[in-house]
């Protein structure tokens, strides 16, 4: 027995061999994950060319106001008419006022391009000039005698733009073959009357997609009570599908009839609840009740009583909080005025609005933080300057000087800024572009 023990190896055979398969399994199990091929990002650089499309004048007193917040010196801007002619060519104005009737495209290069802004101003009414884009959404459009919407399209480029417009009403998608392949001529403009495209339809939502080229667009809603009184009109600003809580403007007491239109462009049913912001808090109203919106569906709520109750209780704005990206717009009207309050998710960074004359009220809400507010008049002189604290749960309001000018709001946090003025004018501040975001370009796999 002792002899047998003495010839036995120090380690059993399995102790020498077992580690091999185990090591193999461990090595194979540790093989790394595939390389991330999507580590590509956009490149940001200073804007060197910017164009804004401006609609045609609604009355003879309107003028185009434009300028730039960039500090550069040498730059030029041109207002190109759809005839191909150049209406103006100016160098670095502090704030330019030009009487221009025709629709056109304001093109700025080099130092004037970053922070470019423009708007058509007529008294207290301001229609912002918009940046050309390839996709736009609107809600609360109409194509009936009582509520008719027209879309003013501007093509800033030297090739024609081809558009597909999809319309949705309370029953779903609207069949309208003529809104496919809409052609906007090169450097030209086109006006689409929804009453011609989808007669008698109401509570419309529209999606504009440029399949070729790009356009800037302005939508004007005209409300007619059909009782012989003068129709009233309002700008219907574009909206974007978002899950971020949207502030539907600040409700104006003069307006009595309120209609909330919502659309769900996502593929999932959205759960929507409403909140109301006052000067001291944000709370959930007893009405309207939370609701669910099916994919592709459009909903229209008449909120005359509910908003009256909200105003009575000190509420200043109606907010929409959705589980999925939705579109929301609130239109209010009275016998003499109308306003369309588009959902406002807010912006981070500098925002600006060209202001008309008359009384004006600035409403600010958003994430808690400090906001710098500066208003300049036509000569560039600062007429209002204040650093204000914005609370997440409150809506702050400030009166602005009656003079026309430019209002600039700067903040590092999310801020929803809205200005209401005389004649029930309403406009949200627009983000300014100082930088351009263009794709990172790199070789792809062989083809």
């Amino acid at each position: 027995m002792r002899a047998r023990l003495s010839t036995r190896p120090v380690l059993p055979w399995w102790a020498l061999t077992a580690p091999l398969p185990v090591a193999v399994l461990m090595a194979l199990g540790s093989v790394g994950a595939p390389l991330d091929q999507n580590a590509k990002s956009a490149i940001t650089d200073q804007l060197i060319r910017q164009s804004l499309g401006c609609p045609a004048a609604a009355d003879k007193d309107s003028r185009v106001v434009f300028g730039s917040l960039n500090e550069g010196t040498s730059a030029e801007a041109e207002y190109q008419l759809e005839t191909g002619q150049t209406a103006i060519s100016v160098k670095r104005p502090a704030l330019s006022n030009e009487v221009l009737d025709e629709a056109g495209v304001l093109v700025a290069r080099d130092d004037l391009a970053p922070g470019l802004f423009a708007a058509r101003v007529s008294g207290p009414v301001v229609v912002p000039c918009s940046e050309p884009t390839t996709e736009l959404w609107w809600v609360g459009l109409g194509a009936s005698p009582q509520h008719a919407s027209t879309i003013h399209l501007n093509n800033p480029d030297r090739g024609p733009a081809i558009l597909d417009i999809s319309l949705y009403d309370l029953t779903g998608a609207v069949e309208a073959s003529s809104v496919r392949g809409v052609r906007v001529p090169a450097s030209g403009s086109t006006v689409l009357d929804l009453a011609e495209l989808a007669p008698s339809k109401t509570a419309l939502s529209a999606r504009l997609v440029a399949v070729r080229g790009r356009v800037s667009a302005t939508v004007v809603d005209e409300f007619d009570s059909l009782d012989g009184k003068t129709p009233v009109w309002a700008l219907n600003p574009p909206v974007a599908p978002t899950r971020t809580p949207q502030v539907l403007g600040t409700v104006q007491r003069e307006l009595t009839s309120w209609t909330l239109t919502m659309a769900n462009p996502s593929a999932r049913t959205a759960t929507i609840r409403f909140t109301v912001s006052s000067a001291s808090s944000t709370f959930e109203p007893s009405a309207p009740k939370p609701m669910r919106l099916a994919p592709g569906a459009v909903s229209e709520l008449q909120l005359d009583k509910e908003l009256a109750q909200i105003i009575k209780s000190g509420g200043l704005s109606l907010n929409v909080v959705a589980s999925d990206p939705v579109l929301a717009g609130l239109s209010g009207r009275s016998e003499s005025a109308a306003a369309v309050l588009a959902g406002q998710p807010g912006e981070v960074g500098p925002q600006l609005a060209v202001l008309g004359t008359g009384k004006k009220l600035l409403s600010l809400s958003g994430a808690s933080g400090t906001v710098d507010v500066v208003m300049r008049d036509q000569s560039g002189k600062v007429v209002f300057e204040q650093s204000v604290a914005v609370s997440k749960r409150e809506l702050g309001q400030w009166n602005l000087p009656k003079t026309s000018g430019v209002l600039e709001v700067r903040s590092d946090t999310l801020v929803r800024a809205v200005v209401t003025g005389e004649e029930n004018t309403w406009q949200r501040l627009q983000p300014l572009r100082f930088e351009t975001q263009f794709p990172a370009v790199r070789p792809g796999p062989p083809s």
Binding site: K40, V441, P443, G444
Partner: protein, 948 residues
């Protein structure tokens, strides 16, 4: 009739006693015998003096030529009618001289030679007269090793007879000037006989006179200062000299040309049979003769004084013109036979190997139940097939596999396999060029597998598609056969003799693995080639470490070639082989440190690993030159679609249509069995070590990113995983062999039943694999849609490589990637060249500029870079499309469908934007590789066996 004998000796003490004795025993005694010793280093002079006396021996120095030696002896011989010349290594029969004299008397010949037999065999014929062929070869008219059975015993006129035993009339010898001093030792007989024939003298051979000749100088048994170590050089030089001196003057230029051509052919042949020494001797003899013509020109001049006879009669004594060609044909036949024999040896079917195998089988059969192979050979093939279930199953299985391969006979295009060019010239162009008109222009090296494909397509009727199909198809016959041989070899190494059904199961499982792992249906040509040839590579690699020295070195060259072939498709395999070899040598060093340092231990594997580095020089050297070492290990097709995760590897899923991982579990489980069995433990540990090495290589490479213009590529880790699979299949097969062996040795009925169950289970594995192959894995999958390029753009790019189509995809958020389509789309072998090209910064910057601020100058720059159209892939990003819409210099072009967008660059393209450019340096390198391949092939081929 009087005869004097002259004996020339040089270090011939080994034979002299017998020679002198036979001289004394002659029935006709010469008048006198004079011996000339040319500086012997042995006791030859003493032996001669003892036999012939002091006066009968002339001592000359070592540089004395044969002819000079005769001249020294001639004056000392008694005045006689005849001279009988003898060598110190030739022993005449007692009646030799008498028979020679009789023949001379009967024929009137002045030169008579004996029949010469081999000494010491005494039976084989060496010469019965001799002549010379038009290429200078010595022609005896005898078969090599022909036995003397009296078949040549006829006195006849010949051109010459050997100087060993030559009887020549003294006055004729003197009149002809004796032997030529320019011929030190070889060729004297032919030259003298031809000279005599030209002078109308008759030479006959007298077969009744017998001389035994050791041919010590010719066979290299002894060396003399006159031949040195280059005996073959002296022989060839003498032969060429003889031809040029004796042929008619007007034939000399033609003779010279033919000698040059013949010698070069012989040099090539000698290289092919791995006799470089003789080849160089041949070359040296040719060069010496051609570039130093004075000796033979002077000799021709001197011989003008001699009388000239009937040239037509002399021609009848020379060998016919066709003799060299017949020898060439014989040589080729011999080479073919040798190759077949070598192949049989390497396959283990040589008589010796078969005998060993048969003995093992016999031994095993004694204890086993009758196997299928016991069926009598006398029965017909069909009967044997029908009565052999295993043969039937195997045949049906292989037929099923062949059915599964039917889709390869059409053009295959998958995610991993671009379209095959219709003309092999495309591949040759890739091989030849340093700069390629592909993509944005590329100077990346051509993939290593392209020369292989180009060469094979040349061999097979210029059909590139046929080559690709054949490579896929070869998996069944060659992969099956290779795995069979590998298992057989490994089994024999562990004294295991598994039944054939175990081999069938293992080999069958191996060839279904590509289908089970999803490699087949993905069209992974690289991995299918690896599955096909890896068993052969493993088998030859095993040969590098075992066997005799010659066999080992042949295995080294074969492994080098096979490793190069596999690495051409899967470069990472080289690292697996390198790491496995290193681990093996390190492991050996632990046990025997000194032995590892021995050259014969480390040199063969080192050479084996160097071979791919030489043969694939075109692939890796340009990368190394640029410092892009990682790109050498890039994946086949330069695609990242072959990336593998740990989960996929452990499930054996190398492709999209892989089967459920039951089979990899079987392989892992049964691969452990050989570790348990004591008999197979050691080799299976080695196999598991190889698996471990392959796994570690995969692990390391999975963490590596190869930076190329289009981003990061992962090295081809699929190759090492195939090594893992092959090793596991081998281990599993051996494991089943062990189980069967264990069960067979037990005689209980339970063991018999268990054995049957194991057999059915084992054979079921490949059958199920075949089922998967015939089912989901049969068709080649292509999950990506072709680029949305309109037909007119494809045609334009195919007709002119400079008319490129810029393909864009992505958008502002994900980034825009671009590629340039030329030649109607990327073809097999081109993807790597495009992908490994350094990024064309000019193009990238141009595109960035256009997307940022479209200006006419930037758009025109696209035309300058050879871009005629732009296509934005579906779904087109609207921002990018809108930007291009607004770009001056671009015009809307009709797209393939509404989902994509296209533009025409208005400025005409620059015709010189991209070019194909070949460099002489690359041709030189290619030539070097071809030469290296030829040398390796020669070294791997069987050599010419030394004559006994």
């Amino acid at each position: 009739v009087s005869v004097s004998a002259i004996l020339v000796s040089h270090s011939g003490a080994a034979w002299l006693p017998a020679v002198l004795s036979s001289l004394q025993q002659q029935t006709v005694t010469p008048l006198g015998v004079v011996a000339v010793d040319t500086g012997s280093k042995d006791e030859s002079p003493d032996l001669l003096r003892a036999a012939l006396g002091e006066s009968g021996v002339v001592l000359a120095d070592r540089s004395t030529t044969f002819g000079h030696a005769i001249d020294l002896a001639l004056p000392l011989t008694p005045d006689s009618d005849w001279i009988w010349i003898l060598h110190d290594d030739c022993a005449p029969a007692p009646d030799a001289l008498a028979q020679l004299l009789t023949a001379a008397e009967q024929t009137g010949a002045v030169i008579v030679g004996p029949k010469i037999r081999e000494w010491p065999s005494l039976r084989r014929l060496i010469e019965v007269g001799v002549t010379i062929s038009p290429t200078g070869m010595r022609e005896t008219g005898l078969e090599p090793g022909e036995y003397d059975q009296g078949q040549h015993d006829e006195v006849r006129e010949v051109l010459a007879v050997n100087t060993a035993g030559m009887l020549v009339r003294r006055e004729v010898f003197v009149a002809l000037g004796g032997f030529d001093r320019n011929l030190p030792i070889f060729g004297n007989d032919l030259d003298f006989g031809w000279r005599a024939a030209n002078a109308q003298h008759t030479t006959v051979v007298a077969p009744q006179a017998l001389v035994f000749h050791a041919e010590a100088a010719h066979r290299g048994v002894r060396s003399t200062p006159l031949t040195g170590r280059h005996r073959f050089y002296q022989e060839r030089k003498a032969a060429l000299y003889t031809l040029l001196v004796n042929r008619p003057g007007w034939l000399v230029p033609f003779t010279l040309l033919r000698l040059i051509g013949g010698s070069l052919t012989r040099i090539l042949g000698l290289f092919l049979v791995r006799q470089p020494g003789q080849a160089l001797d041949e070359l040296a003899a040719l060069l010496t003769t051609v570039f130093k013509p004075m000796p033979w020109i002077a000799a021709r001049h001197a011989r003008r004084k001699l009388p000239r006879g009937d040239a037509r009669h002399v021609r009848t004594l020379l060998a016919p013109w066709w003799v060299p060609y017949r020898h060439g044909l014989d040589w080729l036949t011999d080479l073919g036979s040798a190759l077949v024999l070598q192949l049989r040896e390497s396959l283990g079917r040589a008589p010796t190997a078969q005998a060993e195998a048969d003995s093992a089988v016999t031994e095993w059969s004694a204890n086993a139940e009758p196997e299928a192979e016991d069926i009598s050979d006398e029965q017909g093939l069909l009967v044997r097939w029908v009565t052999n279930p295993l043969a039937m199953v195997s045949t049906l299985f292989l037929l099923g596999c062949l059915v599964a391969t039917l889709p390869v006979w059409r053009a295959i295009t998958t995610d991993y396999l671009p379209q095959t060019p219709t003309d092999a010239a495309v591949w040759w162009q890739l091989v030849r060029n340093q700069e390629h008109a592909l993509g944005a222009g590329s100077v990346a090296p051509t993939p290593a597998y392209v020369p292989v494909l180009a060469f094979l397509s040349e061999v097979l009727f210029q059909q590139p598609q046929l080559i690709v199909s054949l490579l896929f198809f070869a998996l069944v016959p060659i992969g099956f056969w290779g795995m069979w041989r590998l298992v057989k070899t490994m089994s024999r190494a562990v004294n295991l003799d598994p039944p054939k059904w175990v081999l069938v199961g293992g080999s069958g499982l191996h060839i279904t693995l590509p289908a089970l792992s999803g490699v087949w249906s993905d069209g992974r040509l690289d991995l299918v080639v690896l599955f096909t040839f890896l068993p052969w590579l493993a088998k030859t690699t095993a040969g590098v470490f075992q066997g005799e020295r010659g066999q080992r070195w042949r295995a080294v060259w074969r492994t080098g070639i096979l490793l190069s072939l596999c690495c051409a498709f899967v470069p990472t395999l080289w690292l697996v082989w390198l790491a496995a070899t290193a681990v093996g040598l390190l492991g050996t060093a632990l046990w025997a440190r000194k032995e590892v340092l021995a050259q014969e231990v480390w040199l063969p594997p080192a050479v084996m690993l160097v071979c791919p580095a030489i043969l694939l020089l075109n692939w890796w050297l340009p990368f190394a030159w640029r410092g892009d070492w990682l790109q050498i290990w890039g994946p086949f097709g330069a695609t990242n679609r072959s990336q593998l995760t740990a989960a996929e590897i452990l499930r054996g899923q190398l492709g999209d249509t892989a089967a459920e991982p039951w089979w990899i579990a079987v392989l892992f489980f049964f691969g452990l069995l050989p570790l348990v069995s004591k008999r197979t433990r050691w080799p299976s540990q080695v196999a598991w070590l190889v698996i471990g090495v392959a796994a570690v290589v995969s692990l390391v490479f999975s963490r590596v990113a190869i930076e190329v213009g289009s981003g990061a590529l992962q090295p081809a880790i699929s190759g090492p995983i195939v090594v893992v699979m092959l090793s596991l299949t081998l281990l599993t097969t051996l494991g089943f062999g062990v189980v069967v062996d264990h069960l067979t040795k037990r005689k209980s009925s339970l063991s018999r039943i268990s054995r049957s169950v194991v057999m059915v289970g084992w054979l079921l594995l490949p059958v199920v694999g075949l089922g998967w192959w015939l089912g989901p894995a049969r068709s080649f999958a292509s999950v990506s849609s072709p680029p949305e390029v309109p037909a007119y753009m494809m045609q334009s790019s195919a007709e002119d490589a400079t008319q490129g189509v810029l393909l864009l995809s992505g958008g502002p958020e994900s980034g825009v990637s671009y590629s340039i389509l030329r030649n109607g789309g990327v073809r097999l072998g081109e993807a790597e060249i495009v992908a490994f090209a350094p990024e064309n910064r000019a193009l990238t910057d141009l595109l960035s500029g256009i997307l940022r601020d479209p200006q006419r100058a930037a758009v025109d720059g696209l035309a300058d870079l050879g871009i005629d159209y732009i296509v934005l892939s579906a779904p087109p990003n609207r921002d990018v499309a809108a930007t291009l819409d607004s770009a001056p210099g671009l015009q809307q072009a009709s797209a393939e469908d509404r989902s994509s967008r296209a533009w025409d660059v208005l400025k005409p393209v620059n015709q010189d934007a991209v070019v194909n450019q070949a460099e002489p340096w690359w041709r030189f390198m290619l030539g070097f590789q071809i030469l290296a391949l030829l040398v390796l092939a020669v070294m791997a081929a069987p050599g010419r066996r030394e004559e006994p």
